[in-house]
Symmetry: C2
Subunit: 301 residues, 2 copies
Amino acid sequence: MKDTFYQYIQNLQDEITATIEKTDGKAKFREDLWKRKEGGGGRTRIIEKGNVFEKGGVNISAVHGALPKTMQQYFNVEEADFFACGLSLVLHPKNPFVPTVHANWRYFEMYDKNGKIVDSWFGGGQDLTPYYLFEEDATHFHRICKTVCDKHDKSFYEKYKQACDNYFWNAHRDEARGIGGLFFDYCKATEEKQMTDWYAFVTEVGNHFLDAYLPIVEKRKNLPYGEKERNWQEIRRGRYVEFNLVHDKGTLFGLKTNGRIESILMSLPPQVQWVYNFEPEKNSREEALINVLKNPKEWVV
Amino acid sequence: MKDTFYQYIQNLQDEITATIEKTDGKAKFREDLWKRKEGGGGRTRIIEKGNVFEKGGVNISAVHGALPKTMQQYFNVEEADFFACGLSLVLHPKNPFVPTVHANWRYFEMYDKNGKIVDSWFGGGQDLTPYYLFEEDATHFHRICKTVCDKHDKSFYEKYKQACDNYFWNAHRDEARGIGGLFFDYCKATEEKQMTDWYAFVTEVGNHFLDAYLPIVEKRKNLPYGEKERNWQEIRRGRYVEFNLVHDKGTLFGLKTNGRIESILMSLPPQVQWVYNFEPEKNSREEALINVLKNPKEWVV
């Protein structure tokens, strides 16, 4: 399974970066290959200063070795060997009317002393962070999420949409990071689902990522905007930074387990503002976004 | 003691904000009074878009009530009542040749069921975060720190300078946040020092804060700079954000104990950049700063 899935995310990285470059029309991804001292490494691809994408990363990694101490505590297990691979992407568009997107698909294996797999699971998801709310965009994104889920299990969308709203909650601001999407973790073999079923589900989500996101980019990327919209976008990007550095388990984990810092922090936006106690005007479009972030809603039923 | 010290920080806030306004010559502090639901409140003063100071806060607060659960765990105590007051300041100058400064002076009391003080301590410090290194500025700042310390105890400077280097260590970047200063905490009554001795020490540090910082501001505030220096400053400000949101106990504490978010996050810089894998040129002034941050040095002996 690990080879199959790693092959899958390598191909998916190629497909996504090629398509994003075509959409951007100007910037190209630069590639950095890196090795992890304790075993494994990654292929980081970064786009900067594009026509459409101001900054973004579409990274894969496959790491293995002895499970670090912090991860032993986290998973509540003894010393063990592990393998983990995944694709993580974040795209920060220039135009404030185009939402930021994040997606991740990952696979994890743990081994006993004889190298036998004792546990394995999939995880991942995708979520959208708009700066201005277009209800039809949110609905489109969630509809793709739901369609993909429904093909595999009618209970998935409701469950993983809720998990996404819970996970990307910027608790100290009492608001969501964005308008959500899907979040799933510890997808393990059960009586009902084999690992091959989970593989089919996770790759189905991956295969439809571009369908969920790109139509929104195409629709909004040429909308005119001014300094006001740009300032708002940069202030909201500050909230994105706050979530990733204060609450995001993946980020903190990476920072505390000697991960490759520049690959992890590619998720941070290129230009960000913090303005003291900024409040949007009453009944403004900015306020409309906040209202939805404070009270996450159902986008498809 | 609590009334005396609270009176002291109120006066110090007045003195610092008045002097900073004079130095700035344009922007004025705006004041926000806030109340804490569980007891106490604060007086937040924010300066923005000045001639010299792009953003800053000089805040006092005095809070009391039942010790929050998270603080019980932190201090490893049972249920108790507490009182805490302090002044916290962060100033982010516009000119990249002027360093950012942070300072804090605080006092804490814990009570038993009958309202009797069972424990009390002072804490605080001040530290400098330059974007370009002027060795004479670092030496000046540390010399004031040492002079103030030496008046009270010949062992203080070495100890609190080291504690500052340890505390403001951006572990995931393997570098210091800045060039340090002083950091002290849990300054409690002992056979050698009474609380009045600690009061005398902490207020002496507070009384010399402006002497330590302002001459540096005056010397550098009119130095010409261009886009290159400004970009570097904004990238380095990103490291400041990373420290405060990932490592700073005070910030995380505030965020997780229902503190006033906007008063806590006033410490974040106004405009910030994250550029993937940015590396300063060989033998540049930017690299010279990094070298000192990676290997904290002694500025006065």
